[in-house]
Structures are given as C-alpha cells and as structure tokens.
C-alpha cells in the first residue's frame, strides 16, 4: 500500500519535472542511477550478511534467546540480537507479538524492536562513509543505550 503511494508520488514528480524541463529530468535520472550504482557494492554485501544472520538467528532462535527469559539478561540479549540482525517491520512486529505470547515481557520486546530499528552493526561501514567514524559510533552507541532505557521504561509503563 505504502509502496504504491511512494511510486505515485515519484511518478507524479517525474511527470511534472519532465513537462517542465526534459534535460533536467534526464539529468535527475542519471544522478539517481549514479547514486544507486555508487552504493550498490555495499548494498549487496549488506544483503548477503543479513541473509546469513537471518538464517542463523531465525525467529525461532530469537524466541529461544529472549522468549522465556525475564529480567535484565533477557533485555540485554534482546538488544544485542536487535543490533546485529535486520528484520523488516512487517516481520518484526508479528514476531514480537508471538514472543509476548510465549512468555517474554514488554521489556525484552521493546529492547529487541528498538535496537532492531535504530542500531545497525552490519551497516556501520556504510554509515561511516556518510557520516564519518565519530557520528556513526556515537549514534549507534547512544541508540543502543536508549533502546535499553526505553525497554526498562516500557516494562514499567505496560504493566
């Protein structure tokens, strides 16, 4: 659904651009391709690693790791798993709901979800290329700590 909106917006923008200036539009498409091709080697590398990580740390394995674990160890384990894996939202949230049913608490779920979304160990080389080392490590480190803080707070709030 959202993808359609995205493509709708893109096509509309492309059409307006084309009607206004054909040359500029051609340049935009060239730039789009260049930007894509520029980052393609890293994209492919990340995708290979993610595929492997997803297989080794499958939803079943993750639920074993944090499923029945309560307490701080579970939170920490969940945050670490979230930091190294990359699972898209439409897989992650049903997984989280399943974890909840199998006995994990809101704390562990929140740690997993938040670090999944905000921390990306696998993509660190790409991030460094964009932001440099300092911001990359600061951002990921801070995001990791914030995920744990959010988890603890959520554990209190969702009682």
């Amino acid at each position: 659904m959202f993808t359609y909106i995205l493509y709708g917006v893109m096509l509309l923008a492309l059409l307006i651009s084309f009607l206004k200036d054909k040359k500029k539009t051609k340049m935009a498409l060239k730039k789009a391709w260049k930007a894509f091709e520029n980052i393609l080697p890293q994209f492919l590398t990340v995708i290979l690693i993610v595929g492997f990580a997803l297989t080794v740390l499958s939803p079943e394995t993750i639920s074993k790791l944090v499923g029945n674990e309560s307490g701080l160890f579970g939170v920490l384990a969940a945050a670490v798993v979230g930091a190294i894996t990359m699972i898209p939202g439409f897989v992650a949230f049903p997984l989280a709901a399943a974890l909840l049913e199998s006995g994990a608490g809101y704390m562990q779920l929140t740690a997993l979800i938040s670090s999944l979304m905000m921390v990306g160990i696998v993509t660190i080389p790409m991030e460094i290329k964009t932001f440099g080392k300092k911001i990359t490590f600061l951002r990921n480190g801070a995001a990791f700590l914030c995920s744990i803080a959010m988890a603890l707070l959520m554990g209190v709030l969702m009682k």
Binding site: M1, F2, T3, L6, V9, M10, A13, S17, K24, T25, A28, K30, K31, A32, W33, A35, F36, N38, I39, F43, T45, V46, I47, L48, I49, G51, F52, L54, T55, V56, M86, P88, G89, A92, F93, P94, A97, Y106, L109, I113, S114, M117, M118, G120, T123, M126, E127, K129, T130, F131, G132, I135, L138, R139, A142, C146, A149, M150, M154, M158
Partner: protein, 182 residues
C-alpha cells in the same frame, strides 16, 4: 579489461563473501541455501522501494538548489527545519541503509548536522508504515507509548551527535560530500 578489473575491485568484498557462502553451501547446504534464499528475498524487497527512493533523490538533487535546502533545513532553520526533517524521515520507505544516500544528499545541500540526524532518527524509529504493523500486532497503546519515547530519543541522539562534532569536523563532513559530486 581494465574496466572489468575496476568493477571486480569495487565489488570485491561482495564477491569474496558470495564465494564464501557458496563454499559453505557445499558443506552445509541447509544453512547455505536458506541464507541465499533470504538474501534473494531481501534483494526483491529492496528492488521494490529503492527505484522510487533514488529517482526522488535524483529529482531533489536537480530541482532543489543548495540555498533552498539550506533555508529550510540548514543551520538556523529552527523548528520548521526540525519538523521538515522529521516528516521527511517518517514518510520514507525502506531499510535504514537506504537512508544514508539521502542523508548524504542533505549534507551536500547544506542541511544542518542536527537536522540530518533527526532525519536518520525518524527514518529508523518513526517511519509510518511500520507503525501500522506495530499497532496491529501489539496494540495502539503500545505503539503510541513507544512512538513518544522514540521521539524523545531521536532528539536526544541528534543533540549528542551535533554537539560532539566540532565546527571544523562539520566543515570537513560538508566538504567530503561536496567533493563526491565533482
């Protein structure tokens, strides 16, 4: 031939990993095949959103000049710059690593480091499509609570990153992205 070698060099990490995965598949076919399948699915998903993201990026590059981008999201753009960056990130689609090229473009056009980090934070934590899945799986109350916390967190992280970078380090970062164009 020279061009071919250049391509091999650029993709060497990917090629080495791919070779390693194929070797692994020969010995551990179960894990290997599942990994390759997962990667294949990932590529398909990526190909669904990325063309739109990159074409929009190209159009942005051509039509929005540096001065405009600076005015709206640059240093001193204030609350308006903050909300624009937040909205831009929240309305995005695709994994976080797709946000890096967009962030690079923002830096090239002179957006402030703070606003770029807000954009990255929004892309990672307050993207709208995943929020709908979250509400469906874990309830609206959970989704809203986490959203509120994410908003605080992303401002905090953006502040930390912005403050930690010295002025000359920021200039270096901007210079890096200016160069890439040339």
């Amino acid at each position: 031939m020279k061009k071919f070698m250049q391509i091999v060099k650029r993709y060497r990490v990917f090629l080495i990993l791919l070779a390693a995965e194929l070797v692994m598949t020969a010995f551990l076919p179960q894990i290997g095949l599942a990994s390759l399948k997962a990667s294949g699915n990932n590529i398909l998903q990526m190909l669904q959103v990325l063309p739109a993201v990159f074409i929009l990026l190209g159009l942005l590059d051509v039509w929005v000049d540096r001065a405009t981008m600076m005015k709206y999201t640059g240093k001193g753009s204030g609350l308006r710059g903050f909300f624009i960056s937040l909205l831009l990130g929240s309305c995005a689609a695709g994994p976080l690593y797709a946000a890096f090229p967009v962030a690079a473009m923002m830096l090239k056009k002179g957006s402030s480091v703070f606003n770029v980090m807000i954009f990255i934070g929004a892309w990672s934590a307050t993207k709208i499509p995943p929020l709908t899945f979250e509400a469906a799986s874990l309830g609206v109350r959970y989704m809203l609570t986490r959203l509120a916390m994410s908003l605080v967190t992303l401002v905090l992280i953006a502040l930390i990153c912005d403050r930690a970078l010295k002025e000359e380090e920021k200039q270096k970062l901007y210079a890096l992205h200016q160069e890439e164009e040339a």
